[in-house]
Amino acid sequence: MTRRQRLLATGLEVTVPLLLLVIWGLWSSGSSTYYFPPLTDILSTFADTWLFERVGSDVVPSLVRMGLGFGIAVVVAISAGLLLGLSPRARRAAAPIVEFLRAIPPPALLPFAILVIGVGNSMKVFIIAFVCIWPILLNTIDGVTGVDPTLRDTTRVYGVSKRDRLWRVMLPAASPQIFAGMRTSLSLALILMVISEMVASTNGIGYFVLQSQRTFAIPEMWSGILLLGILGYTLNGAFVLIERRVLRWHRGARASALS
């Protein structure tokens, strides 16, 4: 790109989103549609609701459920993935079961979870954990089986202990793949949190948004949608930052390998 093009691109990058916001604001302020209140209304309702009145009652429970479910999934999936990655026979045995379970659309499992566990927090944590396991598990397995054969040979030649082999070689070697899986699971966690709260909850952001719709509190509903969008964006962004830090070695290694 020429210098002029680069300047144009950067300029557009900043102005286009702002422009779209302004257009939305203008279009909605004159609007009489009930379902699309003026942007200004939405923003002020947002401030009233989420800064910081309902943080304790809705945001915190939602995030806690999500965090617990995601955390459990990470621990279980990485451990299982490491073991399955190292044993071709275990992989073959587990394959049909894994393939089937992960293909079940998560919402179909909600009634099952409600039946067996009930409608409380543990049900939500369970379903989030159950769904989030699969991407991480499969990616961990991929990461382990894809470890460079020379690296494996080196590890064998130097007689590295089984423990070290698992935690200090296989785990770091697979970590780029693991992080990719975790990123997918993170967005799944958010989705499942919202759905489970919409279907069976008395608090939480998902519950709030649906409830607002039912009681026709439209600006509140939009404020909730906005919050979820911000949440999705922030979580993803934070995760990317963490990933970048932890996987700095990986980017360096790839860059030098390609050059």
């Binding site: 557009l12 989103p17 049909p96 659309p105 409600i114 998902g206 949608i225 969008g229």
Partner: protein, 272 residues
């Protein structure tokens, strides 16, 4: 060069399950286990009916019109959602991906809208479209759109610059380069994107059925549960699983076909 040098296992050969049989053995094992456990009371029978009962209910359902209606509704929502998403995302992705300036302009918007969980729009969908097919399709299409858009963008941008430069030196116009170089090289990415978008569309379809109550498997599952018909609930859940596996297999096969004839420039995963 392989590095396997395992000494022979200490287990006598006659007891060792051969590799090819492993998957079957484990499936049979799991089925038997989950059939016995409820029967002997380890698992509560009202929550966990024996698998044989679940499966026999499923077989019964195959003769019921209501079952096929539900399956049809789900597939309808899935197909429409995916088709609309593809019809929008692929062209838009190609256009934005081909222009560096356009991409930079839209990048922030895409990056912000993409992580919005589409389920957050469920209430909005209810408001605007009610509780029928349109709601379902709207949600499925919205979610699949972003997956496919990003995949297309990535595919278009990942074209080997040497290939486009070569085409340009031969005097091909921009449009010609697009169709002859860029698109063919982007196809594997689009194929993968379609596979993922298909899964997403199915998830959102069933979600809409579950939460909003649109006709389909999701609703039927919930109805079965609240009606106390656990075997039916499980049978329908298994059905959605089978549906998921089938759809996934179709797309995986198609993706493999596409990759096979394609002079694959894809950066392979792992192994580095």
């Amino acid at each position: 060069m392989t590095t396997l040098a395992r000494s022979a296992t200490s287990r006598p050969r006659s007891l060792r399950v051969p590799d090819w049989a492993l998957p079957w053995a484990s499936v049979v094992g799991v089925l038997v286990l989950f059939d016995l456990l409820p029967r002997i009371g380890v698992l509560p029978r009202d929550h966990f009916p024996p698998i044989s009962e679940m499966l026999s209910t499923l077989v019964e359902q195959l003769g019921e019109a209501s079952f096929w209606e539900a399956v049809g509704n789900t597939l309808q929502g899935w197909a429409l959602g995916l088709a609309i998403a593809a019809a929008l995302a692929i062209p838009i992705g190609i256009v934005i991906g081909s222009s560096r300036i356009l991409y930079r302009a839209m990048r922030a918007v895409i990056e912000f809208l993409r992580p919005i969980p589409s389920v957050a729009l469920i209430p909005l969908a209810i408001l605007i479209y009610g509780t029928g097919l349109e709601s379902k399709v709207f949600l499925a299409a919205f979610a699949s759109f972003w997956q496919l858009l990003v995949a297309t963008l990535y595919g278009v941008q990942d074209v080997d610059p040497v290939a486009t430069d070569t085409a340009r030196s031969f005097g091909f116009s921009r449009i010609q380069r697009l169709f002859r170089v860029t698109l063919p090289s982007a196809i594997p990415y689009i194929a993968t994107g379609l596979r993922i978008a298909s899964a997403v569309s199915l998830i959102l379809t069933v979600t809409a059925e579950l939460v909003i109550g649109s006709a389909g498997l999701g609703r039927s599952i919930n109805v079965a549960r609240s009606g106390g018909n656990e075997e039916l609930m499980y049978a329908l859940i298994i059905t959605t699983g089978i549906l998921g596996v089938l759809l996934n297999t179709i797309f995986v096969r198609a993706e493999r076909r596409v990759l096979r004839w394609h002079p694959s420039q894809r950066p392979g995963e792992a192994a580095q």
